[in-house]
Symmetry: C2
Subunit: 480 residues, 2 copies
Amino acid sequence: MHYHLVIHILGFLLIFMAAAMLLPIPFSVYYGESDIVFFVIASGITLIAGFLSYKLTRFDQEVRSREGFAIVTLGWVFFSLFGCLPFFLSGHIPSFTDAYFETMSGFTTTGATILTDIEKLPHGMLFWRSFTHWLGGMGIIVLSLAILPFLGVGGMQLFKAEVPGPVPDKLKPRVTETAKILWGVYLIFSALETVLLMAGGMTLFDALCHTFGTMATGGFSTKTASIGYYESAFIQYTVILFMMIAGTNFSLHYRVMKGDWKAYFKNNEFRLYMLLIAGATLFIGYDVLLNHSPAFENAFRTTLFQAVSILTTTGYGTADYEKWAFSSQFLLFLFMFIGGSAGSTGGGMKIIRLYILIQFVRSEIKRLLHPSAVIPVRVGSHVIPKEIVTNVIGFLALMAGLFIIGVILMTILGLDLVSAFGAIAATLGNIGPGLGSVGPADNYAHIPVLGKWILTFFMLAGRLEIYTVLILLAPSFWKK
Amino acid sequence: MHYHLVIHILGFLLIFMAAAMLLPIPFSVYYGESDIVFFVIASGITLIAGFLSYKLTRFDQEVRSREGFAIVTLGWVFFSLFGCLPFFLSGHIPSFTDAYFETMSGFTTTGATILTDIEKLPHGMLFWRSFTHWLGGMGIIVLSLAILPFLGVGGMQLFKAEVPGPVPDKLKPRVTETAKILWGVYLIFSALETVLLMAGGMTLFDALCHTFGTMATGGFSTKTASIGYYESAFIQYTVILFMMIAGTNFSLHYRVMKGDWKAYFKNNEFRLYMLLIAGATLFIGYDVLLNHSPAFENAFRTTLFQAVSILTTTGYGTADYEKWAFSSQFLLFLFMFIGGSAGSTGGGMKIIRLYILIQFVRSEIKRLLHPSAVIPVRVGSHVIPKEIVTNVIGFLALMAGLFIIGVILMTILGLDLVSAFGAIAATLGNIGPGLGSVGPADNYAHIPVLGKWILTFFMLAGRLEIYTVLILLAPSFWKK
């Protein structure tokens, strides 16, 4: 492990974050609030730390995958460390644990909050809180992929560790180009959503914050009541649409933008994505219409919103799904594990892995019926190599193992079974709200300090697809 | 599919069951109860059905694995159908659904009951109820393996479908011999336990019934309070010991009986089995000692009893574990999925599969650290072929899928999340008592009729390792 390379690049990235920390100031000024000084101090500290790390090390070697893994994971750890300074220094989140939890929740696009009264925070703080989503979402790291090459770093190693999903859809051979394209798509959609939300009646401030939360599939809102605060059907449908966009593979968007209109529906993962949303809306909608919301359009919108919000791992809410039927709650609980598409900003196991798992089970059953036949696992007409199938299954087994360990730890800390299941599923899947005492009408404030750190770890592990984080825990990883 | 072969063999087996149905009569006579007539009628009906099936078909072809699968699954279905007649005809279980549920629960060695007051039943009925465990446990089918060959059936196909676990430990080349040996071991232990339980103060009747429940890892008791009714530490330790024996691979017992004393501890599955019991006893015991049972020996015994009872999928109880810490409950919930060893009477996924899964995840993590290395999955020093690993994982994926479908169905029927999780885990794993409204202090009487049929299916699927049952649902299985 070449530590100096890791420190060098992290330093470089921190300098950019120091600049980003000044972005909330215009809003502080506009709303006449007194939190400007804390952004200046936090930015200054981050700048100094970044500058020193950058200057005291030299970039004299190639970045191998080892350093790539370290940069990605430590990137999230340190961004959250410096990123929580405005909350902590200003005293708006007086506990360091809480401030770190909230910031990691932001950068990992989880959206789990320890805040009980969100409206109490000044606008600058809320802007920064939502902005961590946007930075984390598509990725500080994907952003950096467009910049690092100027330093002479190939960046392929970072890409390998970062871009989620087993079948990255290579758009262009050069990673930098790819990152720039994805970044461009992300920017276009973000601008579009902001405009639409303002057209629906939001202020620029609220529109931006909710765009950050949507496009990153994060879930932080500027309102304690989340999107439920806005009764406008137009705003709610807009958020639904952009959550769906954010949960789609961004290279598909690019293809469509390039004129290949059928790209979405030629894609197997996208089709399963739509099927899951449609199925859940029908299934849950039946109960919602019958027992909770007799108006058809309203029942449809509320159900669709919740299904999309959980499946894409956003976590926005317009209703308290814990009041719905147990079967609806369980389906949403399952969605927490599935998550968005590969190459989207969504978390969870990713829909393509579910697809491969289904195909695998199918092929195993067929093999039992026809013992002599060779039945490969396919995605569409492509035969998936055995190593990929094994890798997908290994990932799912690891995810299940981590989930079990998490639930054991949370129950030891005193959470009941439903809350423990909900808290771990919602952080490991980067959703935000879970079930029980951490349900959509509640928050994470009451979790014991140790529990908050455990959940922070689960957010990180979930966001970085587990392996990337676990590999750093292996002693042999750090050896020469 | 050669239907006539299936009918022929099922008929033959039913004739044996008709004889077994007369065994409760001595107890009815001894206790002066009036249920004798119902056993005679039930036995007569079964005999006629069996005799007609046997006589109207001919054994003129070889039994292929297709027919093997059909005989195994339909065997359980029809044994439960005829086996429930005494309960239903006598009106002791007036609902047919309930009577079938109870009998399937017996033959699958689950031990889930719809009875609210067990002591109300006459002794003959209780004897038959427990005897279904014993027949089902080691296997009506394993028993039949020693008989079928006289009909000229090789039986290997049945064995393939019946003996649980991916690594059957072949004792002797000929299947008949193996079946006889396992049967002998089963009989010796059963006799031993009966004697010990009587020495502890039980009547012959209670000793026999509890032996049936123990050796089959079933869980039916003659007391509503289960083993908790007996305060004798000697009885409780005896049941613990024999539950552990019943959850062990019977070929290991045979080896030890043959003089290879170290066979147990040379076996990787057995070592993991002991480790799981010891770990759970320590983990749960800490809470039980601190908060529920201040006397050390009592806390140890209660905890060990519960850990062994759930892990072996017996389901006997001496305490209401739902009063214990959430972490203890969750650990026991996990144990419901693991189950006993391969080649034991225990249900669940089997410990060897957990072992292979752990080794698989380990090898995947190693492969990530050393991408070029070839890291096989091992059990001890044996390299496990890739197809076996794939098969194990396919099984676990199928089990997880079935579990999810089951929970969805039970929540649709109105069960809360914890009860639905508990009911499906406890039936799919063949444990008996679950969590929530089907916990150890409750029973299955309140489940809606449709729910009882669903759970009946889950008991059957769990007992026959899923594939065996699912394969019958494939249309192509029945073709030609």
